[in-house]
Amino acid sequence: MRRPDARAGLVLPAALFMGLLYLLPVLSLLWGSVQTDAGLSLAGYRQFLGEDYAWTLLARTVLLSLAAVLASLALAFPVALYLRRLSVRWRTVLAVLLLSPLLTSVVVRTLAWVILLGQQGVVNAGLQALGLPALALIYNDAGVVIGLVHVYFGYMLLCLLTSVLKVDPAQWLAAANLGAGPWRRWWSVILPQCWPGVAAGAALVFAQCASAYVTPVLLGGTRTKVLATEVYDLAMTYLDWHGAAVAAVVLFGATWLFVSLMSLPARRRARQPA
């Protein structure tokens, strides 16, 4: 089409809006985190990262997120493989059922687990009815991981499903015809082709888990604090906006680092011939 520049103007309102009212504040916060009264300085970071507490938070954040990633991956992959076999209609029905929780609020999903996992919660009530001892599934790491897995499962399923559906169905048959058993088929034929989906799902779930706030607070209680909790406390309770900014940037940086690490194997495999 001639004169494409006319259409460029159409993007301008949205771009200006996003740039000025969203990106600019974020950049301003990043910039502010390296400012002190004495000008450009990393003092805030040195102070924050100098404390063991910060590292504990960081470690817990990363470990909880990784646990959630692995658990959701383990849950989602067999489901994706099964959904592939179904007719489009059934696949759609099940996919909608499994993905629609994503459109509910995080608060609602987390509260559901508070209800289920509490001391007198539904799960324990059931266990006790069966004569089994009650489990401490709330106000600890286990509860948080369960909650995180439930909240962000849909993203992992979506990424895996997209990848799995792209694989030529004939390859399953070819692998079987050439003598590969089911485990071998998955390991040697399917999984290598699904790395992009795995990496995407892992990155997405990790990023969300690492910055999750509501779920760790409601399910983790006062003993399980994560970095996001610290950011919020610093900002809203102590009104230490500079400290909060530093913590937020550390969180963002750590997330970004891990996400990049997770995408590496996928990118390297993509470049290598199969």
Partner: protein, 264 residues
């Protein structure tokens, strides 16, 4: 191929389905309990918690504010996102890719960071009106979903039709109005619903930007839940889930999830 595998797959999927949807069932049940604490309704059903919810002024007000905010945010997001998606669909220039990424940034930046950022910067420039701040934040949050949904709809359009329209004498705006827009209606409706529900559900960003005078339902519910442990929390959750359910149904009817899962 082993016949056991599909059976195993079906079992696993059923268990996962139970894991994903079971909690919602539990919430519905708990909201009907006659006891005064979180428990299953083993002594009978009652709607008293829903009544209690209606009688709670804060939560009721927050609910109304949430709905209004979601509607206003979705409208603004579609108003900004439609021309943007159209402009991006036309162009294969380098700036198009960069602009698209710019519009998608809320999906990559944690809400902890962006919520704090908007709070900090608006304070610095003296913008203290909570309602408008919250609205702007929600528009930014929902814009990526609008642009993505409309982008997908536009990609499905046959661009030869636009050239045909031009050849038949339509000016660019007329071509858009007569040829593109009518075919875009389901996509626009779906984008609106998407934006609405994302705004309605949001808590991460809203936590920073709410306060005396304005709150959202998820934030109020969260605050309430940190101090209380009674089944009213379940009742409020059920109502929120109903709104989400409506959104899912509407989106499915308008553009269908089938497209996502069609495969080869």
């Amino acid at each position: 191929m082993s016949r056991r595998l599909p059976a195993l797959g079906a079992c696993w999927t059923a268990l996962v389905l139970l894991f994903m949807l079971g909690p919602f069932v539990a919430v519905i049940l708990v909201s009907l309990t006659t006891r005064d604490y979180l428990s299953l309704p083993d002594q009978g059903f009652t709607l008293k918690w829903y009544a209690a919810l209606a009688a709670q002024p804060e939560l009721a007000r927050a609910a109304a504010q949430s709905l209004a905010l979601a509607g206003a945010s979705a409208l603004a997001a579609v108003a900004l996102g439609l021309p943007a998606a159209w402009g991006l669909a036309a162009s294969r220039a380098r700036w198009a890719g960069a602009t698209r990424t710019l519009l998608m940034t809320p999906l990559f930046i944690p809400m902890i960071l962006s919520g704090l950022a908007i709070l900090a910067m608006s304070g610095a420039v003296g913008w203290t009106d909570r309602a408008s701040r919250l609205w702007v934040a929600h528009v930014a949050l929902t814009l990526p979903y609008v642009v993505r949904t409309l982008g997908a709809s536009l990609a499905a359009l046959d661009h030869a039709q636009l050239r045909a329209a031009r050849n038949l004498g339509a000016a660019p705006l007329a071509a858009f109005w007569h040829v593109v827009l009518p075919q875009l209606r389901p996509g626009m409706a779906a984008a609106f619903v998407f934006a609405f529900i994302v705004s309605f559900d949001n808590v991460g960003m809203s936590l920073f930007l709410t306060g005396p005078g304005i709150s959202t339902l998820p934030v109020s519910l969260y605050t309430y839940a940190t101090y209380n442990n009674d089944p009213m929390v379940a009742a409020a959750s059920v109502l929120m889930v109903l709104v989400s359910l409506l959104a899912v149904v509407l989106i499915e009817r308008m553009i269908g999830v089938a497209r996502l899962v069609r495969g080869r």
